[in-house]
C-alpha cells in the first residue's frame, strides 16, 4: 500500500490526464481517503517483523501458522541483529523486532522506541562441521585442537550474540588465545554457518537451529555446555501502524502453541 501511495503521489499529474472529467472526482475522493486514512481497511491485515538471522527457519513456520490461525499476514525481514537495530533507530517501519540478544531491545526501550520487551526464545551455540569425521573426538575442545583442523568459523563476537557465546565457551576452556590463528570471523551466524557448510572452513560455531536445516543435517555437531544460552528478546515498536496485529503476534509467539516449533529448531 505504501508503494501504491508513493506511485500515486509521484504520478498524480499523469494519472489525472488519463482519466476523463467524469471519473476525476471519484478518483480524487478515493485517493484522498486512502492517503488521509492511516487506519485504512487494508492495513490491518498485515504486520512487518524484523527477525534476527539465526531465527529464520523457526520463524517461517511460526509465521505460517500464525497467518493460518488469525488471517493476519506477516512480512519478515531477516538480517543481523545489529543491522536491524540501526535500521530501527533510523526510522525503518517495522511493527515488531525479534532480536538475537537482550541488549538491543533494552536499548530501544531506553531510547524510547518501545514500551517493553519480552523474551521469545533461548538459543544455543554448537560446534558444527560438514565433515562427519570431525565429531569422532572425545570432546569439542579436543576436536578443535586437532592439527588437521586449520580454520574455524565464528560469528564475530563483537557483533553477534552467538559469536559472543562461543567466545565465552572458548575462554572458559582456556582455548581463546590458542585458537586465534584458526578463527575466521563471519559477519553473522548465518555467514559462519555458510562458511562451515560450504567447507570453506573445517568447522564452525553455529546456532543449534542450523543443525536441523537440510544443510545442517548433512554434517554433525558437538553440544557446547560451556556456552551460555543466548537469550533472545523482542519488542513492539511504538511507531507500529498495527498495534492490534502486533500484540496478537506477540501473544502467539509466547504461547505454548509455538513451543513445539521452537524445540524442533533447537530453541527453548
Amino acid at each position: 500500500m505504501f508503494f501504491v501511495r508513493l506511485y500515486v503521489i509521484y504520478n498524480t499529474e499523469n494519472i489525472f490526464k488519463e482519466i476523463s472529467m467524469k471519473n476525476k472526482q471519484f478518483v480524487l475522493a478515493f485517493i484522498l481517503i486512502t492517503l488521509m486514512n492511516p487506519f485504512s481497511v487494508l492495513a490491518q491485515e498485515k504486520i512487518s517483523v524484523a527477525v534476527a538471522a539465526n531465527f529464520i527457519s523457526a520463524f517461517k513456520e511460526i509465521a505460517t501458522d500464525f497467518e493460518k490461525k488469525t488471517g493476519v499476514k506477516v512480512e519478515a525481514t531477516f538480517s543481523s541483529t545489529g543491522n536491524l537495530y540501526s535500521q530501527i533507530q533510523n526510522g525503518a517501519p517495522y511493527d515488531v523486532f525479534l532480536s538475537a540478544d537482550e541488549q538491543r531491545p533494552d536499548l530501544l526501550q531506553k531510547e524510547g522506541f518501545t514500551e517493553g520487551t519480552f523474551i521469545y526464545a533461548r538459543g544455543q551455540a554448537v560446534l558444527w562441521s560438514a565433515n562427519k569425521d570431525f565429531c569422532n573426538a572425545s570432546s569439542w575442545q579436543d576436536a578443535l585442537k586437532n592439527d588437521k583442523i586449520k580454520k574455524i568459523a565464528i560469528a564475530n563476537p563483537l557483533t553477534a550474540p552467538y559469536g559472543a557465546s562461543a567466545k565465552a565457551a572458548l575462554q572458559k576452556s582456556g582455548l581463546w588465545e590458542v585458537m586465534q590463528s584458526k578463527l575466521v570471523n563471519g559477519q553473522d551466524i548465518a555467514q559462519a554457518f555458510q562458511y562451515a557448510s560450504t567447507q570453506a572452513v573445517d568447522a564452525g560455531f553455529c546456532a543449534l537451529s542450523a543443525t536441523s536445516s537440510p544443510q545442517g543435517k548433512v554434517g554433525c555437531f558437538y553440544h557446547i555446555p560451556e556456552a551460555p544460552a543466548i537469550v533472545q528478546a523482542g519488542c513492539i515498536l511504538k511507531r507500529t501502524k498495527n498495534k492490534v496485529g502486533a500484540e496478537l503476534f506477540i501473544t502467539y509467539i509466547m504461547s505454548d502453541q509455538t513451543t513445539l516449533i521452537k524445540k524442533k529448531y533447537g530453541y527453548r
Binding site: 543491522n83 537495530y85 540501526s86 580454520k151 564475530n156 563483537l158 575466521v184 559477519q187 562458511y195 570453506a200
Partner: protein, 219 residues
C-alpha cells in the same frame, strides 16, 4: 579509530593497483590492437566483474578459492596453507573485482594512438615489444595513470566481495569498509564515523589527481 583496518585497506589497494598495472597492460594491448576469433567473448568476460554484484563475485570466489575449489585446492596442495581468509586471498579477490577498471582506460588510451606511429616505430627498427615499452606506454601515460587511480579508489571501497571471502581477520583481511560496518553493528557510531570520514580526504585527493592528469594530457 581502527588504524589497523585503514592500514590493511591501503595496503590492499596499493598491492592491487601495482599488480593490475602489470597484468592489465598486455590484456589492454591485445584488446586494443589484435583481432582474433572469439575476441568479443573474451572482452565481455574481462568486463564481467563490473556487471556482477560484488556479493555474487564473492560467492563464486569462495567456491573457487576454498579448500575444495579448483584454485584453493591446488594452492593448498602446493603450499599447505589456505587461500581464503588470508591477505593473499583478498588480494586475489580485489584484483578480479577491479580488472575491468584497469583494462578499460588503458585500452582506450592505447587505441587513441595513431597506428602510423607504431608503423613508424617498426620501420625505425623497434620490435613489437620495444614499441610497446618505448612508444605506446610513454604516449598513454595519462590513460595508465587514470587506470591506476581508478583501481585504487575502487579497491579501497571494496566491501561485498571482501565480506564474503575475507573472514574479517584483524590485521589481515579486516578492511576499513568492513570495520565501519562492524562498528555500526556494535553501536560504536563514533568509531564508524571517524573511519568513514577518513575515506573522504583520501578519495578526494585521488580524484583531484585524476583530473589533473586528464588536463595534462590535453595539451
Amino acid at each position: 579509530m581502527d588504524y589497523l583496518a585503514l592500514y590493511v585497506t591501503i595496503k590492499l589497494a596499493l598491492v592491487t593497483t601495482a599488480v593490475l598495472m602489470v597484468i592489465a597492460a598486455p590484456i589492454a594491448y591485445l584488446l586494443a590492437y589484435k583481432h582474433f576469433p572469439g575476441k568479443s567473448f573474451v572482452e565481455a568476460l574481462i568486463y564481467l566483474p563490473m556487471a556482477l554484484p560484488p556479493t555474487v563475485i564473492g560467492f563464486y570466489l569462495i567456491i573457487l578459492m576454498g579448500p575444495r575449489g579448483w584454485v584453493g585446492g591446488i594452492w593448498e596442495s602446493l603450499t599447505g596453507g589456505s587461500l581464503l581468509f588470508t591477505f593473499l586471498g583478498i588480494t586475489v579477490a580485489s584484483i578480479i573485482y577491479s580488472i575491468p577498471f584497469a583494462v578499460q582506460p588503458m585500452k582506450a588510451a592505447f587505441q587513441k594512438i595513431d597506428r602510423r606511429l607504431l608503423d613508424a616505430a617498426y620501420i625505425l627498427g623497434l620490435s613489437k615489444r620495444a614499441t610497446f615499452m618505448r612508444v605506446i606506454i610513454p604516449n598513454s601515460v595519462s590513460g595508465i595513470a587514470a587506470s591506476a587511480v581508478l583501481v585504487f579508489l575502487h579497491s579501497i571501497g571494496a566491501f561485498g566481495v571482501l565480506l564474503m571471502v575475507g573472514g574479517s581477520i584483524p590485521g589481515q583481511t579486516k578492511v576499513a569498509s568492513i570495520a565501519i560496518y562492524e562498528a555500526v553493528e556494535m553501536m560504536d557510531y563514533s568509531a564508524a564515523g571517524f573511519l568513514a570520514l577518513s575515506f573522504i580526504p583520501i578519495s578526494y585527493a585521488f580524484l583531484l589527481l585524476v583530473n589533473r592528469l586528464n588536463e595534462d594530457s590535453r595539451i
